[in-house]
Symmetry: C2
Subunit: 137 residues, 2 copies
DNA sequence: GCCGTTTTGACAATGGTTGTCAGTCTTGAT
DNA sequence: ATCAAGACTGACAACCATTGTCAAAACGGC
């Protein structure tokens, strides 16, 4: 999770964006642009791949979705539930995600940066593990 | 930074690996495989691109270099100074890096994971900011 | 020096992501 | 409702980092 600022700009409402939005609403975990595209295709709501990418990018720029990189370096997206800055606890196996608010870490990161004279600080933090369900099987 | 464990296996010493090693020794900041390859080429020590990738991957597997993803999703590598798990404070502008050891965060991450029943926990954490030098200019 | 293995390198192939550009749709104004 | 301006879309090409392939070369132990 990278801290972001920026207000949000206006965008036109289109069938494609609505479709992407809907999928995001119905999806608990992180999803890649490719997966989202494939999903839309199976649902019959055909949306161009390029459009999916553009839409997700726009949403990310506006801070309406979280973006993070999978271990494979693929970008994955997810509707941002909390408005404030937060982090994720992600299951390595099934992808189940828990959003985490970490005042502790925020402060820690800030103080570390201050110590070294770094300004305009942001940070990324993700925790990976095996969730209870996957651990059981 | 992802937590890693694993012992290290033996590998053969070759001219190419020595060359990659040398560059890593002389490089303070993170460098991508492509950059490293180009650098070797200009130095005359030609090493195949595929070899550079394989070498870096091996080093990473053995825990001898740190790997992280740039915002662009490109993998960047750096000789690992500390042996234990640590994080980085990276200058957004010039790439200058400070290695950070964070017992605080380690504990915090562990406890959060425990709370949600997640096991085999690892985590990634990078702090980005503008370093004093870049902020001055 | 010899031999089984590992490693290399040139190149093809993969795959996610972005660029292009003509055609389409949304919006605010009339 | 109608219209013009320009934002948005889609099909496809282009990019580019990374990985796969496989014959040739290098390494290390004997």
């Amino acid at each position: 999770m990278t801290v972001r600022e920026q207000p949000a700009k206006e965008h036109r409402r289109t069938r494609q964006r609505a479709a992407v939005d809907e999928v995001l609403d119905q999806t608990e975990d992180f999803i890649s642009a490719q997966e989202l595209h494939a999903l839309l295709r199976t649902r019959g709501a055909g949306v161009g791949l390029a459009t999916v990418y553009r839409t997700l990018q726009t949403l990310a720029d506006d801070g309406r979705v979280d973006v993070l990189r999978s271990d494979a370096g693929e970008a994955v997206y997810r509707r941002c539930v909390r408005e404030e800055h937060h982090h994720h606890l992600v299951c390595r196996s099934c992808g189940a995600t828990v959003e985490i608010a970490g005042p502790t870490v925020e402060r820690w990161a800030k103080s570390i940066a201050d110590q070294h004279g770094y300004s305009e600080v942001s940070h990324t933090l993700e925790i990976f593990g095996t969730c209870p369900r996957c651990a059981a099987s």
